[in-house]
Symmetry: C2
Subunit: 348 residues, 2 copies
DNA sequence: CTGAAAGCGCTTACAG
DNA sequence: CTGAAAGCGCTTACAG
């Protein structure tokens, strides 16, 4: 059927071992003349190596499994793109799976990827998953969590510095004159969003630390007034629909805050859509800052101010970790990108 | 190292053939007692079949390759999600690659997927690619193009009925009272966007056919005035940035149209962002309809009116075609979803 | 219903 | 520098 190594060897008048050596540039040297004969034979026959056969024998498939907690969320999607690209740079193929926020689907994908003999596993996880990486460890397959990992997991995690990002968002809104800054979290306090919520609460209820962005250090920090109400915590699902519905509800009940930090771009986009639908002006009536800062956040209406997670660097680091394990900590900074939605009018 | 079929056979006191029969429920029958012993042995040893070995021997990998023309475009991304999900439903794993609008990357991905012995190839293609499916045909691997295929290709194509969609968009804007309806195309006239552009031009320059949506048939069709200017064709790259910049330029030159049909959601999102940045009110000053209708189009500000391509049905059909080839034509309808951006104020 | 054995297409000691 | 051969972990005729 298809042309095999043996066919090439026969045509070149040599052994399969030698053909293998020239196709792989090693591990044994081959005489230049022999090499040329082999290359010529391979070209004439249009030989294409069978990676499956290679994988079985060499015990390495050249494939890495990537499972995304939810592929339609812009944050996970952007992370997924960067990871795939990073893997391609390293010559790896990407086996892709979308867990669609179902822990059992995530588990099942991992099992199937492991059965497919992946060389590594990148798990971009959300709250609520089991420690699927334990299975990878049992199979001696390197794995890495991105964004979140279950509490019990011992697998490395790559995530941005959420607490600092949230503090810079709070500081920034204060500089815009806001004292009452609400927070939109997810349905519960699990995972990174929980961390973000806690950082927000702490920033509002205790003395703020130094501003994280050096560029901002000149700006006066407003003191909170003594009669400040308790911080307003809002919650909704991680979906545009849910966030848009929340705006409607809040408006109907006249409970709209004036400033809002939103845990995710997905929700922020929904907030913007809901605001537009009811004629609520952003940032004039409601100032918002999101905490993902995906590429989509630059092209919303109005453009979303956000703390931008360094997705590319995170992807790079995660893939690195698969191949050169290191204990070195990595907690990259998520800089605040002021755009229109917080009240800034960026030039350009 | 890992537990193999032979280990299970040994423990169950039987042959590898029998173990294989029970693991695969065939193709030969196995006595119930034997079967139970095998299952017990497999469970005790925590046996996991090696899919690579299976693939080599059975000449079927259970993996399908999916290449996306551009993964950050919401249209391709949504299609990709549906295809992956459809494949998962069929028990296939998805090898994923992003061509990032580079024809040579697309070609290379196909080669590598073929080398990985994929059972099929789904190519969500944009203009400008070579006929990569020819290579698949040579390797006897079923392939299908989605959205677009090169002119010379003989591989099946799954795409929506673009011409009808465009006509319904033109009709709809006319019902809103617009006579001068501009069109935003891509940089050139290749591919499906070219078709869309031609359908728009034809709808504007000749007598309109019957309205495609039965629900709309009562609405009066405005006659074009005799002094109507030539249809205005706009072009920009398929990127949000490029579309946003276009709005700025048009406004600066005072050449803004009053009604615009936009070839893609990606560009439409950019138009909305650009409009928001300069305070151009949509739909009051500029009515727009997009021709993709991805899920994101429902959560823009304002919500995008669009002809909605039936992405899920397309994905389903494409994957179907891989496994049960059929000559049956498939040209699904893309219904118009009126939202805010065209001037409609949908209830709910 | 079950077992012994060949073979999928490679890589890799091993011997020369 | 090159070749003969074993073996990766399965599936599948073939024989019994």
């Amino acid at each position: 059927m298809a042309v095999t190594l043996a066919d090439v060897a026969r045509r070149a008048g040599t052994s399969t071992a030698v053909v293998s050596y020239v196709m792989n540039n090693g591990p044994r040297p081959v005489a230049a003349a022999t090499r040329d004969r082999v290359l010529a034979a391979a070209a004439e026959l249009d030989y294409r190596p069978n990676r499956i056969a290679r994988a079985l024998r060499a015990r390495t498939s050249g494939v890495v499994g990537l499972v995304l907690a939810g592929a339609s969320n812009p944050y996970y999607a952007a992370l997924g793109r960067h990871i795939e690209q990073e893997l391609e740079t390293r010559g790896k193929l990407t086996l892709f799976g979308n867990a669609a926020f179902a822990p059992d689907r995530q588990q099942q994908l991992i099992e199937r990827f492991l059965a497919a003999q992946v060389d590594g596993l990148v798990i971009v996880s959300a709250d609520g998953g089991h420690d699927v990486a334990a299975r990878a460890a049992a199979a001696k397959v390197p794995a890495v969590y991105v964004h979140h990992r279950p509490a019990e997991a011992r697998t490395p995690l790559v995530a941005a510095d959420n607490a600092t990002a949230v503090r810079s968002a709070v500081e920034h809104l204060r500089r815009h004159g806001h004292q009452h800054i609400a927070f939109l979290a997810g349905p519960d306090d699990a995972g990174p969003v929980g961390e973000r919520r806690r950082a927000w609460h702490e920033a509002l209820t205790s003395r703020p630390g130094p501003a994280p962005d050096a560029a901002d250090e000149q700006a006066p920090v407003l003191l909170r007034s003594a009669d400040e109400q308790a911080p307003v915590l809002l919650r909704c699902d991680y979906s545009r629909a849910s966030a848009a519905a929340l705006v409607h509800r809040l408006a109907a009940e006249d409970r709209l805050p004036r400033a809002l930090i939103i845990a995710t771009d997905e929700q922020a986009i929904g907030i913007l859509a809901g605001a537009s639908a009811i004629g609520l002006r952003i940032p004039e009536q409601l100032a918002v800052i999101s905490l993902d800062g995906t590429p989509e956040s630059a092209y919303t209406a109005p453009a979303l101010s956000a703390t931008r997670q360094p997705l590319e660097a995170m992807a790079h680091h995660a893939v690195n970790l698969l191949f050169v394990p290191t204990a070195e900590p990595f907690l990259p900074h998520a800089p605040l990108i002021p755009r229109r939605s917080c009240g800034c009018v960026p030039t350009g």
